[in-house]
């Protein structure tokens, strides 16, 4: 587990991180969400040791992080970087070697990765000759070539076409499933919502919420249900203890003080006619995010 404890960092007079603390749990994908300039990149750079914190520590399983561990993290910076005039496979070998692999191992792993990412036939091409989507795939391969023990990815999905998003997701999932902590930042909240297990929400350099995705969702939503019936659902307004939030003909979203009360609404709906669907309402992350960072 990678833990950040009370990280502070300033650039000049501007303090960009205030007492940032959160955990990245092995085997889980942790989404790191925040507006531009909220401190995501600075935080990631500090975990990688590329930047030093002014106070606070980064720990791995309770011990201060070591250079050896850091060099085994797979990192993808926000602004993509590979050598434009070097072939894809050569860069992977180079980066693999710098991370401690032998040239032969790096070549083998690089070739495997390109295969999995669907980039095998472009392995010998210069990066500058690749399409943007393929450059992204090469970038992901670069982050994975040394068989990382953890992944830190800054906006891994920005600029990816839907196909590439799926491929990338699959690869990242595999790494997490193998037991590595995975931290990725994103401003595409729908992707984060679908993908991450844990969530860290940061605003103005302060962590506003962190923990399991559902835990955060539960904390920031009152229990609500949605009901869709064949007939009109206007009668729900009349049920005592029930607050109708959204109503449109056969569709209604309501808050109820207890699950039993919601059950009673369902029972009545079944008596009145055919029920198409009934279930708890999941508040989308965008709403929670807007509320948390306010």
């Amino acid at each position: 587990m990678i833990s950040l404890r009370g990280i502070n960092r300033s650039f000049g007079d501007h303090q960009v991180l205030h007492d940032v603390s959160f955990d990245v749990v092995p085997g889980r994908m942790t989404g790191f969400v925040g507006a531009n300039g909220s401190g995501k990149t600075t935080t990631m750079r500090i975990v990688l040791g590329v930047l030093a914190p002014h106070s606070g520590t980064v720990e791995v399983d309770g011990e201060p992080i070591t250079g050896g561990y850091r060099s085994r993290i797979g990192y993808m910076p926000e602004e993509r970087g590979l050598y434009p005039k070097m072939s894809v496979i050569d860069q992977l070998v180079y980066l693999g070697e710098l991370h401690g692999l032998t040239a032969a191992d790096a070549r083998r792993r690089g070739t495997d990765l390109l295969e999995r990412l669907g980039l095998a036939e472009r392995a010998g091409d210069h990066v500058e000759a690749l399409s943007l989507g393929n450059q992204q795939r090469a970038q992901i391969a670069a982050a994975l070539v040394h068989d990382p023990v953890a992944l830190i990815l800054d906006e891994p999905f920005s600029g990816l076409d839907p196909m590439a998003v799926e491929t990338t997701l699959g690869v990242l999932r595999d790494v997490a499933d193998a037991g590595a902590p995975v931290l990725f930042s994103s401003h595409q909240l729908d992707v984060v919502e679908r993908l991450c297990d844990d969530l860290v929400i940061i605003a103005d350099g302060r962590v506003r919420a962190s923990g399991g995705r559902e835990e955060i969702r539960a904390r920031h939503s009152s229990p609500e249900w949605t009901l869709v019936t064949a007939g009109d659902t206007g009668w729900v307004r009349g049920v005592p203890g029930v607050d109708v939030i959204e109503f449109d003909g056969g569709h209604v979203r309501f808050a109820a003080s207890s699950p039993e009360l919601a059950d009673r609404v369902l029972r009545e709906a079944v008596e009145r006619g055919s029920v198409i669907s009934f279930g708890p309402y999941h508040r989308p992350l965008t709403e929670i995010f807007a509320e948390v960072v306010r």
């Binding site: 750079r45 990688l48 561990y69 990192y75 050598y83 923990g211």
Partner: protein, 377 residues
């Protein structure tokens, strides 16, 4: 904090290999620098052209003696013709009268005219300028006693100075800007962040400087080989005896001086984030490299200026071999110059590493040097 779900798996059995060692990181970086250069067509072609130019000028220099001499056509009256004909490199046209001599000189058929006789004295006739060669040949010259008959002639000294200056200047410029480009490329594409997550900035800097220096040394060694080889092939004693030692000193001093310049180029380049800004950022270093080149052209035969230059780190690689060639320095002076240069190199590398480390991750506007040196990491 997630307390709801506990991870079901533990971390992969980390075959906890430590961070790559410093020297290994430097080797990997240096290897890449060299490979990238060797695979670049532009690099290979420009190197071949450079070496060909050196070869051509060395061959020309050995033939210079015969190149500069030519015969002068002279018109002379009958009395003068016998004497003039004995002068070296002169082609005599004998005419009947002094008037005819003047006509020939005036219409440009001959370069000069001579009238008179050995007993009455000669008159040399020129069109617009006095024909110095003929005047000298006909004058009574005092005896000349040369104390150092083997001293190199000034023309040759000039060309050799030019040669050292040019080779140093060209190599430092070419490889210096190559390093600068390579630094900015990494900064501009942000791959530097990935690199710094794996290896220390100093290893990256060292790898770049060493890789490019090795290429520069290889090129200088080829140049030295061409000069000495041509000397051996043509049996030219000036090249062999006179230049052998200076060339060796040049190679030694160049090695140290180049590492210093390369480190400075890398540091300066790390201040900017875009290749477009590179020119203005590195121009102060370019000046430092260019000034000794011009000084050696103007003062290649001035022992005082050369002596001063030999203790200034940027000009020492050019000045020291010149002094040895002319023979105006004591043996220990060259060693002292080398020591000064080595000291300057060590200092330059330290400052460069500091600047490089602190400015690599600063992107956007050009970083001010003062800010970098003041700020902590």
């Amino acid at each position: 904090m997630s307390t709801l779900q506990q991870p079901t798996r533990t971390q992969p059995a980390a075959t906890d290999h430590a961070r790559v060692s410093f020297s290994r990181a430097v080797t990997i970086v240096a290897k890449r620098e060299i490979m990238v250069r060797l695979r670049s067509k532009a690099f290979v072609i420009s190197t071949i052209i450079f070496l060909a130019a050196i070869l051509a000028s060395v061959v020309l220099a050995t033939q210079a003696g015969s190149l500069f001499s030519s015969t002068t056509s002279v018109a002379a009256t009958a009395d003068a013709a016998a004497t003039v004909a004995q002068l070296p490199d002169v082609e005599v046209t004998e005419v009947a009268s002094a008037e005819e001599v003047r006509e020939l000189v005036a219409d440009g058929t001959v370069a000069a005219g001579v009238v008179g006789s050995p007993t009455e004295g000669f008159t040399v006739i020129g069109d617009r300028t006095a024909p110095e060669g003929i005047i000298q040949a006909l004058s009574v010259t005092p005896q000349v006693e040369l104390l150092d008959p083997d001293a190199p002639n000034p023309m040759l000294t000039y060309f050799i100075g030019l040669g050292f200056g040019l080779v140093f200047f060209m190599s430092a410029m070419t490889y210096g800007s190559t390093i600068a480009q390579s630094v900015v490329e990494e900064k501009q594409t942000r791959i530097v962040e990935i690199l710094l997550a794996a290896i220390p900035a100093r290893a990256l800097l060292a790898g770049k400087v060493i890789g490019n220096s090795l290429l520069a040394f290889a090129q200088i060694a080829l140049v030295a080989l061409i000069v000495v080889g041509t000397g051996a092939a043509t049996g030219d004693t000036v090249l062999l005896d006179g230049l052998g030692i200076p060339v060796l000193w040049f190679v030694a001093l160049f090695t140290v001086g180049f590492v210093m310049i390369a480190a400075l180029y890398a540091a300066t380049a790390s201040l900017v984030s875009r290749v477009e800004d590179l020119g203005s950022a590195t121009s102060p270093i370019m000046m430092l490299v260019m000034i000794p080149y011009f000084l050696v052209i103007f003062f290649n035969n001035n022992p005082t200026v050369l002596a001063v230059m030999s203790y200034v780190p940027f000009s020492a690689p050019v000045a020291v071999p010149m002094r040895i060639f002319i023979g105006t320095s004591a043996w220990w002076e060259s060693l002292l110059s080398l020591a000064v240069l080595v000291l300057a190199m060590v200092l330059a590398i330290r400052v460069a590493a500091l600047i490089y480390e602190r400015s690599l991750l600063r992107t956007g506007a050009r970083v001010k040097l003062g800010d970098v040196l003041r700020s902590g990491s």
